[in-house]
Symmetry: C2
Subunit: 139 residues, 2 copies
DNA sequence: GCTTGACTTGGACACTGTCCATTGTACGAT
DNA sequence: ATCGTACAATGGACAGTGTCCAAGTCAAGC
């Protein structure tokens, strides 16, 4: 039983086979799958699970704060079960590999008050881009 | 004649009515329009301009480094003619207003060497989110 | 075991963006 | 000024991602 599934059950979720496999697929470190990747892997265990259910379930997990959406490209959103420790992402521009990284300071504090235009700034999203070692080596 | 159009002509662009109106629509400060918004405004001056041409033209401007793509939400890409001064964006989570902002330091330097995993890091994208004064006031 | 409201399903639909064959045109050459 | 040609514009088909809905199914409490 994954920690994620445990937390969801504590929140009163009705436990279904579909939700179980989605939670299981998302279990682990450095996981950043698209909804359709989640669907493909979930279908490996539960062949008839539908796309709509995967989208619904992921959306609910995001609403509950147990999964975060990550947008590192303009294609599909990615779903990240590492929701309880703020972090940023480092993306290879060539192969798409994504690594969790941590900045040396709080990026929010880098925005001076006179650059906030009266906004109540509550969140910042940082994506670093470059080439991973393999791609930089021409692999 | 916009500065943007001037620069494009210097690069040997064949000048067409369509490219002119797209460049004119993109002229100005704090402009962050989607492709379809550009198309709608361009069609105000040149009714028969096609969606494909707007997409082609914007893509060419991006390739030439005269316009930058901005992804502040998971809907449409936005096109920013402010391509010659690096900056970040501050977005209202409620109404979508986008402001250009400048951080106090270079965000790239905030990623320590031991968090780079051997990547050649060349770029960083920072998006601040919050509520603009109007939305915070409940307007 | 029933009952019931929550959950799942498949498919239609919307939005953004790409592609391509055809038609049109800007611009250098004459 | 006209022409020829390579480059550009067009519109419609198509693809990827995500949402929505009506109908069927099921988990969980009684
Ligand atoms: Mn992550
Ligand atoms: Mn901008
Ligand atoms: Zn790579
Ligand atoms: Zn606002």
């Amino acid at each position: 039983m994954s920690d994620l599934l445990e937390r969801l059950r504590e929140r009163g979720w009705r436990m279904t086979a579909q939700r179980r496999v989605v939670a299981e697929v998302l279990d682990g470190e450095h996981v950043h799958l698209t909804a359709d990747e989640v669907h493909a892997r979930a279908a490996g265990r539960l062949p008839e699970i539908s796309r709509a259910t995967v989208y619904n379930t992921l959306g609910e997990m995001v609403s509950l704060g147990e999964v975060v959406e990550v947008t590192t490209d303009r294609r599909a959103k990615r779903y990240d079960p590492n929701a309880h420790r703020p972090h940023q992402h480092l993306v290879c521009a060539r192969c798409g590999t994504i690594r969790d990284v941590h900045t040396s300071g709080d990026p929010l504090s880098q925005l001076p008050a006179d650059e906030r235009f009266g906004f109540t700034v509550s969140d910042v999203e940082v994506t670093y881009r470059g080439l991973c070692p393999d791609c930089a080596a021409g692999a």
